[in-house]
């Protein structure tokens, strides 16, 4: 004779096969529950990883000060042509350098609203004037050539480092190194190309490749060639903005000091700026916030998963109760022939667990397939951690046990005489 457990399972399967459609429909509840848990976890994990990566690209030990255009003053709104002066200043930079001697680096960045051309190709990337430290502080990588150097700053050199996407679009057929690009009205020699960043959610249609188009030129060159004034011509009006620095990146020596530096910079800028024309971005805080968002997401997800498995479990329980009633007579026969209560409990419990584990297993397969489809057609990043299928499958199996216990207990509790009389 076969070993007891295999035999019980085989008999359970056979009993379930007596009602194929019913068993299949019951399984569906668990199947969708399990697969949706896995799929949602994968999508959630993907989104959160993407968010964290974007934040990490800012540099997790950095504090970023940014110029922000202050809200318009309605009293002078009728003016057609005016110059708006706002944002971070060179004094701010100096003060910060003096206030935090422990800071490894402070990197000022200016952003120029200029078009970039090569032959007949035109692009409007972010043109950033930055010192050589930028590369190290942001942790970005070079694909080829070199980044801006201290010598470039000294010489006010007309050299440029292209972002991957700029290089790709302006020089589709040749190596841009050593070629000339025109930024605004000046010519720059390309000395390096940055490696692409990982794809971000805003970059639809071209997975895996960075489209954040950027061109870097030496900080001093930027100021000398283009000045602080930016002119933007809009329908019927000319907006002129004067900004000294668009961004100051503070590289903090240790993660513990990040919070202090952020608070101190906020306080200092608050003292010297009359308007709220700046913002302080702390990637570490963003990371914490992203972690918090993820936590909330996981709670929501957990609830949804719990509910869907609960619904699946109730479905199983409902069917098993019907089955027990239907098979009252069989229970009576088995009891009369010597089945103990635990035999009856085992028999029905095994049937429920077979249903839920079957549903769970198919759910895992479907749940692993859904992220692939989502990645392919919705172009979202998904991450399947090994935990997700394990968890979902275990919960589905557990569902079978939990929701099978009551019907099984009811079956075992039946009076054999009554059960035998049942039609």
């Amino acid at each position: 004779m076969q070993s007891g457990f295999i035999r019980v399972v085989r008999l359970g399967v056979r009993s379930l096969l007596l009602h194929r459609l019913r068993s299949a429909l019951t399984t569906l509840g668990v199947l969708f529950g399990t697969s949706s848990v896995i799929a949602m976890l994968a999508i959630g994990e993907g989104a959160s990883e993407e968010a964290q990566e974007q934040i990490r690209q800012l540099g997790s030990q950095n504090v970023i000060l940014r110029s922000v255009k202050p809200p318009e003053d309605p009293n002078q709104g009728s003016q057609r042509t005016r110059v708006v002066v706002y944002g971070l200043t060179d004094e701010d930079l100096l003060r910060i350098r003096e206030t935090f001697p422990a800071l490894a680096d402070t990197v000022p960045i200016r952003e120029l609203a200029q078009e970039v051309r090569h032959l007949d190709r035109v692009m409007s990337p972010r043109v950033l004037a930055a010192p050589p430290d930028y590369l190290r502080i942001t942790g970005r990588m070079l694909l080829s050539g070199r980044f801006l150097s201290a010598a470039d700053e000294m010489n006010v050199a007309n050299v440029a480092v292209l972002g991957y996407e700029v290089a790709r679009q302006l020089f589709p057929l040749k190596d841009p190194l050593g070629e000339q690009v025109r930024v605004g009205s000046d010519y720059f020699t390309v000395v390096g190309i940055l490696a692409p960043r990982l794809r971000q959610s805003s970059d639809r249609g071209r997975p895996g490749v960075d489209t954040t188009a950027e061109v870097f030129i030496p900080f001093v060159t930027g100021r000398k060639r283009y000045g602080d004034m930016q002119v933007r011509i809009r329908a019927g009006s000319q907006d002129m903005e004067q900004i000294q620095l668009h961004e100051i990146i503070l590289a903090v020596d240790t993660p513990e000091n990040v919070e202090f530096v952020a608070a101190a910079s906020r306080a200092m800028l608050g003292r010297f700026h009359r308007e709220q024309d700046y913002e302080v971005v702390v990637p570490l805080e963003l990371l914490a916030r992203a972690a918090e968002t993820k936590r909330i997401f996981n709670i929501v997800l957990g609830s949804i998963a719990g509910i869907s498995l609960l619904v699946g479990g109730i479905g199983i329980m409902n069917v098993m109760l019907a089955t027990v009633t239907e098979r009252t007579r069989e229970i009576g026969i088995r009891r009369a022939l010597g089945a103990k209560r635990h035999h009856i409990v085992t028999q029905f419990l095994v049937e429920t667990v077979v249903l839920s584990v079957g549903g769970g297993a198919m759910g895992v397969v479907l749940g692993l397939a859904i992220p692939l489809v989502v990645e392919r057609y919705a172009d979202m990043r998904t991450v399947v951690t090994p935990l997700a299928p394990t968890l979902a499958f275990s919960i589905s199996a557990l569902t079978g046990v939990v929701f099978g216990l009551y019907p099984a207990w009811r079956a075992a509790r039946m009076d054999p005489v009554e059960a035998l009389r049942h039609e």
Binding site: M1, E330, V417
Partner: protein, 247 residues
Amino acid sequence: MSRSPAADAATNASGARSGHEPVAQLESVSRVYQMGDQRLRALDDFSFEFRRGEYWAIMGSSGSGKSTLLNILGCIDRPTAGRYLVRGEDTGALKDDALSELRSRHLGFVFQSYNLIAQLDVLENITVPLLYQDNPPADGLERARRLAERVGLCDRLHHRPRELSGGQQQRVAIARALINDPALILADEATGNLDSKTADEILALFDELHGEGKTIVIVTHEPDVGARAQHLLRLKDGRIEEVRHQR
């Protein structure tokens, strides 16, 4: 407490009965059903014993207590008062599990409507009582095959019950009742659903088993069936009405 003359006759008329040890003993057994306000006495201070090798038919009108008696004999019901002993063991002291073990080891059931398990084939149906024994014998399948042969079903071993005729199903049930070599075979209207020819074959099988020394108790309301047994016990209102030693 006065004992009924019939009971005395049954326990004392040893002349007509075998001298074997008792297999099932009922001592002042009462079974009372509470139905709303009414109390129904299905068995009323009932004392009797069935000895090894005997073949009894129990008869009586419906409500006479014969089904209740069979249920108590089969250990699927318990007396409200009195003692019931199987092979000298008091069943009142046994917990549910121990009582189940006793059923699977020492009792064989044959029902009116065969009561085979639909999803199992012939061979599996015959082995069911063994599955529930605490230490099932290793040669269960072999035994089942021999018994199937014995009841004339050796070419139907892997058929499902619904593929068998009534008579064949009842043969499977009898084989199932024999698999544990029971001390007592209990049959409840075992021929009630069969035509007279098939019923005759089944009764012949019982005769054969009796001939081999099995202890059989068969409940019936058919006089023909009752007449074939070795002894006849007639019940009325939960008491013994008549005891007749026929052969």
